[in-house]
């Protein structure tokens, strides 16, 4: 409320609002009666004004006693007549307590303080007390009355601001609620975002995450873990109780429990778990025990890595290392045997060469010795050829080139000039076999050497290579040699049984050849119409078309 024109801030004395107290009359030119009339009229006008205003107004003398009060003042304070207030100390009457009922000493009253200093004051945060003992929030202004430079009293104007206060409170509440609602919304959004981040992390994790309890229940498991164990869904997995199953005797859960209870956590524990279908998966596990305030374990939170592939590779590596070491050992031993064996064979042959009538009885025995020694030679040769193939990696092999290489190798040892060699290769240029090149080469060398030997002096060797079906290709080796009897056919692929006479069978035996072919998922069979009718060896090998591989790579790059 702006500063009002104070109706009494003039040279008048304090005015009684219902005109009970006479005024000091001014001296001078007017007759006493005229002056009294004018005064009365003025008083009446002022009274009218004072009693028609909506604000409550009262006056105070220097002692703080009420000198006048208007109707609104009476009404707001709950009094009927100004006599109830006039002459009373207003502070004690209406202003003696704070809103909470505690005592309000007059020295602290701002009205009192103000007009002590000759100043006015404006207060909005106090209450005034009604006649019925109830208080109401009020806004008041006080103005000092000054006459001839001296403060002679004060006028106080006040309003009941109960409604205003209520409205203010209500507004406050609303804005507080709004602010809270805003905060809540923000918090919820943040929570949702955080939940989503967590869920993404949890589900898209590259390793399995879980929460289990000491008594074997599964509370949480992310999709990686569910899949790792071969279940279709979390619920499917959660049906399992870990105290009953899921672990194998060699890696019992008790071991895990022991470590985690002792140390509070487990780091990099390698063990094997059972999948839904009973197969094993090797895992590396780290977990922490979550305990309550009294130290009781509530649950285990852990991560799991599938290391099955890694373990298999380790095994392979180990066995291939072992194999390589063994291979070297075997090769060394075999080489050592070459000399003594050469001596036995050579000397026995020489003796047989020099047999005369006198030593004829010994011929048979010498022949036996020679035969045995030559069997040793064959075994040794097979062994050394095999050890050559150990430790060599599988590579993509071009079949026509390999066959030609094998033919060259055989012709180096045997005169192939009298043999007609026909190579029919009907393979697409991108057909590929992946295998140990040395091993496969020795198989063909073996087969071609056999064919050559079967053909004694002259003959025809026909090699046909073609696609058999979408997964296998076929190599046929047909010779026009001495053929194989039914009896021999049956024993042909048996190890260490050589169909050849004495020293003719050398190099890789058919049994070893068969073994190599079967290792690569292939098959080998032999046919012969009988002795003198030649023989046909058929080798089947799995193959891939290089085109397919390129296609796959392209897809990967685009996807």
């Amino acid at each position: 409320m702006p500063q009002k024109k104070d109706p009494c801030h003039n040279d008048c004395e304090s005015v009684s609002m219902d005109s009970a107290v006479p005024l000091k009359a001014g001296s001078g030119k007017f007759s006493h009666r005229m002056a009294e009339e004018t005064l009365r009229e003025s008083e009446e006008k002022i009274l009218l004004l004072l009693n028609s205003t909506a604000e409550a107004i009262y006056g105070l003398d220097m002692d703080g006693n009420c000198t006048f009060c208007n109707n609104t003042c009476l009404r707001l304070l709950g009094y009927q007549h100004s006599d109830e207030l006039l002459g009373k100390n207003m502070h004690w009457q209406v202003h003696s307590k704070y809103a909470d009922g505690t005592h309000f000493p007059v020295e602290d009253c701002r009205i009192f303080q103000a007009f002590q200093k000759g100043e006015g004051t404006h207060v909005v945060d106090e209450v005034l007390w009604r006649s019925d003992g109830k208080s109401f929030p009020a806004e008041y202004w006080s103005y000092p009355q000054i006459h001839d430079g001296i403060v002679i009293g004060a006028v106080v104007t006040f309003l009941d601001i109960t409604e205003r206060k209520k409205a203010e409170n209500y507004l406050n509440q609303i804005s507080v609620r709004l602010a809270l609602a805003e905060k809540a919304k923000l918090a919820e959004a943040a929570l949702q975002e955080s939940e989503e981040r967590f869920r993404n992390l949890y589900e898209d994790s590259t390793i399995g995450l879980y929460r289990t309890t000491p008594d074997g229940a599964i509370h949480l498991a992310n999709s990686v873990l569910v899949k790792m164990l071969g279940y279709s869904s979390f619920d499917d997995l959660a049906a399992r109780n870990l105290e009953k199953n899921g672990f194998v005797p060699s890696y019992p859960r008790a071991h895990f429990i022991e470590i985690i209870e002792k140390n509070g956590s487990v780091k990099g524990l390698e063990s094997a778990w059972e999948r839904k279908d009973g197969t094993m998966v090797f895992v590396r596990e780290s977990a922490k025990a979550f305990r309550n305030s009294v130290g009781k374990t509530l649950y285990y939170d852990g991560t799991v890595e599938d290391i099955t592939e890694y373990m298999e590779m380790q095994q392979k590596l180990l066995s291939s290392e072992k194999l390589a070491v063994m291979g070297r050992l075997v090769a060394d031993v075999a080489h050592e045997l070459n000399n003594p064996l050469a001596i036995v064979i050579g000397r026995t042959q020489l003796m047989l060469h020099r047999i005369d009538e006198k030593s004829l009885p010994f011929k048979g025995q010498l022949e036996t010795v020679l035969k045995s020694a030559q069997r040793c030679k064959t075994i040794l040769s097979n062994l050394l050829t095999y050890t050559n193939t150990i430790g060599k990696k599988d590579v993509a092999v071009n079949l026509p080139d390999l066959i030609n290489e094998a033919l060259d190798a055989v012709s180096y040892q045997y005169d192939m000039r009298s043999i007609e060699v026909l190579l029919n290769c009907n393979l697409p240029a991108n057909a590929e076999i992946t295998c140990n090149k040395v091993a496969l080469l020795s198989v063909f060398v073996n087969l071609f050497r056999n064919a050559r030997q079967a053909m004694r002096k002259t003959g025809k060797l026909t090699i046909t290579v073609e696609i058999k079906n979408e997964s296998q290709l076929c190599i046929e080796i047909q010779d026009t040699g001495i053929g194989i009897s039914e009896e021999q056919l049956a024993k042909l692929f048996q190890p260490f049984i050589s169909g050849w006479k004495e020293h003719e069978g050398t190099g890789l035996g058919l049994a070893t050849s068969l073994g190599i072919i079967e290792t690569y998922g292939g098959k080998m069979k032999v046919e012969s119409e009988g002795e003198g009718k030649g023989a046909k060896f058929t080798v089947l090998l799995p193959y891939k078309l290089k085109e397919e591989k390129t296609l796959q790579t392209n897809n990967k790059a685009e996807g």
């Binding site: 070459n338 050469a342 064979i345 040769s381």
Partner: protein
């Protein structure tokens, strides 16, 4: 069966004494003149002294192996014929000898007749 010694001289180098003996016997049967050395250095010396037509050389020998021996011989003698004796499954060593002018390879244990036929074939060239 030959009755007289031929003019052919053969030097056999092998660290296995009994094998050396065997080969000597075998080749002398065929009426070749045979000299024996039981290691690389001896072989190099004998080659210079006796000037053989053909050397039968074992690859696997301690100290100086066959390849080194041959390399040394070839430094001063590129004429002498060489037949190399190998164990089964030694493709690498054969590769190593590729530039040393080897006439033939024979793998141990060998058949006596194979040895004889290879040597006669080599000498006939």
């Amino acid at each position: 069966m030959k009755t007289e010694f031929t003019n052919w001289k053969i030097l056999v180098i092998d660290d296995e004494p009994e094998l050396l003996d065997l080969m000597k016997d075998l080749l002398e049967e065929e009426k070749y003149q045979v000299f024996c050395a039981s290691n690389g250095s001896e072989g190099i010396l004998l080659n210079e002294q006796k000037n053989p037509d053909l050397i039968l050389l074992d690859l696997r020998m301690p100290e100086m192996d066959g390849i080194e021996t041959l390399r040394n011989i070839r430094k001063t003698d590129d004429k002498v014929l060489v037949v190399v004796l190998t164990g089964y499954g030694c493709p690498d060593t054969i590769r190593d000898a590729a530039d040393l002018n080897v006439s033939e390879y024979l793998s141990k244990p060998f058949e006596n007749e194979d040895l004889v036929s290879i040597i006669s074939k080599a000498l006939e060239q």
